[in-house]
Amino acid sequence: MSILIKQGRVIDPANKRDGVFDLLIEKGKIVKIEENITDSAQTVIKAQGKIVSPGLVDMHVHLREPGREDKETVSSGTLAAAKGGVTSVLAMPNTEPAIDSESIVNLLASIIKKDAKVKAYISAAITKGRDGKKITDFKNLKKAGAIAVSDDGCSVDSKTIMLKALEEAKKEDILVICHCEDHSLSKKGVMNKGFFSTKLGLCGISKESEYKMVARDIELAKKTGARIHIAHVSCKESVEIIAKAKAKGIRVSAETAPHYFSLIDESVSGYDTNMKMNPPLRGVADCQAIKKGLADGAIDAIASDHAPHTINEKAIEFDRAAFGVVGLETELAVAITELIDTGMLTWLQLIAKMSLNPSRILNLNQGSLGINSPADVIVISPDKEWVVEEENIISQSKNSSFLGKKLKGLIDYTICQGKIVYQSQ
């Protein structure tokens, strides 16, 4: 199978390439990038006026399998990924049961092998049952195929246990992804604490509950030398703490999600449960700080935190509704609309945040259009506008924060390992 992509604007941060080129794919690999390739190919994609970039690497995705196939499956989630231009996902371990043993890693790996439409990697849990008490067997989880550990959805509350986990992670050289939330502060909160929680009469989640835990985990990373990655950064103070830690040479990386640089807590007005996630949408200053953090490098990556929930868990009272929103199919368009169109990031920077950087954080050989790289390539219509509607979401769950919103940028082709896994109509 060979694919020739003609005359697209190739954006390849790994090779610092931004220009109009032809790109030839053969046998799952990129074999040529030249100004004019005349070789014949089975499929020719005309890409004038389009962007050609490495496939996106989304390091924060809830595929929900095993256990919550009513929300999403490996099959439906990776199909949604393909539609969103994502060629690699990292599956989070808060499944039922949690991914906390070799046998469950093996089970998920076998489902992925059978059903996944794009590449799917596995993060295992830090503690058994993600209850923050007993550390899992990092060595054997890694051997079984897990590429990171995380108790995502919860922090490891006990500092002693987190310290032990990071010591172990350092020994086994495995990345620890930190969900930072001090539960004794966030408590029963359901949205950002501030004027809007006061106005709506909803229990607030303070920013302290996030950034104090970010600071704690960074302190422990410094102490142990372990590699940590801060998930879903939502507030200004967290960005500042991470920037300072990086300046001191501590091994920390960070991601944010599209909703944190595009929406604010005011959006909860009307009790829209598709605006409910954890951490919550913050204020205007936080939203700006996130954008700035992306621009100046404090935040390395953009990940969707794709969190599908059924309508039964969302079409209820706000305080009882599940936390989380889907994002695989909208993340690139939200980023183009909010970051490229506003001039916050260049295309090279944006594609780095969404492919090369997460790939490097996870030690994956991806996010590059270099010769002989795996042919994970996407073709984007950067100016095409579209409106997010339930009908055009192919994820099993429709809980998007962007329903009814007009976004810019649509995926035309997603090529994963040299195969076209998605093509727009």
Binding site: F195, S197, K199, G201, L202, G204, G270, A315, I316, D319
Partner: protein, 309 residues
């Protein structure tokens, strides 16, 4: 005001000054009904009002029931324990079932902020909010304003202090929206931990000094302290609260002026208010209860006869 267009009464935030004044003047005309020998008008004859209460409440439920009956409506009370909600059907399903019984108006009290709005959106029946979470309790604020207007003759320019657990109070929020729209100057007074973030942006002044709050005020609205809520260690102790924030006759005497004392009830004697004040000449607490009927009659009547644009 030409016509009432709101299908539901969900809160005072969404009402205009004119609409609030219209409810109050409608209530004025209904007040007389309760003084008649036959306390009934046929305004809602043939209509069915369902009181759907997810939180225990006696006084608000009874007040709505009396109001509906004085308008000749048929009234059904449905009490659902919040603890059974998890197992039971959703709020929307319950609402739709009640609507299928051809209920015309649903009066809902719920512990979740926003629940009445959710119900209103999915139903054709009129929905009246009888208190949702910490969000709003519009008829309580309307009856507070009705009472103030009756006592003083105006709301414009009045100084009203609201004292107590502002953070967890729907009564405070509805009063703030209503009073500020009608031109009153509102002060909220509580210990720091009970003042929610950003409340000043609702157009109120904040103080932690009760004597200051009383000194400036034409009226004080004393909120019920719910010590049973006590989730944080920061919550003040009962006796300490009474000493620092309790409304006592000593405090009122120092003012050398007349101040109206209101309370949404049920009162905690010796906690937020002394018995002497509660039963004293400044207190309008029982008049508030009487006025509650007129205000709720107005609310039910207006939503039932709403002409949606």
């Amino acid at each position: 005001m030409e016509k009432w267009t709101k299908k539901d009464l969900l809160g005072l935030e969404e009402l205009s000054r004119e609409e609030i004044e219209h409810v109050l003047s409608t209530a004025e005309s209904f007040k007389e009904v309760s003084t008649r020998e036959i306390k009934k008008v046929p305004a809602l004859r043939g209509k069915t009002v369902v009181n759907l209460f997810y939180e225990p409440s006696t006084r608000t439920r009874v007040s709505f029931e009396v109001a509906a009956k004085r308008l000749s409506a048929d009234v059904i009370n449905v009490a659902i324990e919040t603890s059974s909600v998890k197992k039971g059907e959703t709020l929307t399903d319950t609402g739709k079932n009640i609507e299928a019984l051809k209920a015309d108006i649903i009066v809902v009290r719920h512990s979740s902020s926003g629940a009445p709005a959710m119900l209103a959106e999915s139903l054709k029946a009129n929905v009246v909010n009888a208190g949702d979470g910490w969000h709003e309790h519009p008829t309580q604020a309307l009856l507070d304003m009705f009472t103030l207007k009756e006592k003083i003759g105006r709301i414009q320019g009045l100084k009203v202090s609201i004292v107590g657990d502002i953070a967890h109070s729907r009564v405070a929020r509805s009063n703030i929206w209503g009073l500020t729209k009608l031109g009153a100057l509102v002060t909220v007074c509580a210990p720091k931990v009970l003042i929610p973030e950003g409340i000043e942006q609702m157009g109120v002044r904040v103080t932690h000094d009760i004597d200051q709050a009383l000194k400036d005020a034409d009226a004080v609205n004393v909120l019920r302290m719910q010590f049973e809520r006590d989730e944080s260690a920061a919550f003040p102790k009962q006796l300490e609260y009474f000493k620092t924030f309790g409304i006592t006759s000593q405090r009122l005497k120092k003012l050398k002026k007349n101040i109206i004392v209101m309370h949404p009830g049920p009162i905690n004697r010796g906690i937020e208010i002394s018995s002497e004040v509660a039963d004293g000449e400044n207190s309008v607490i029982l008049e508030q209860v009487t006025n509650g009927i007129a205000v709720r009659m107005a609310a039910l009547f207006l939503v039932s006869n709403s002409q949606q644009e």
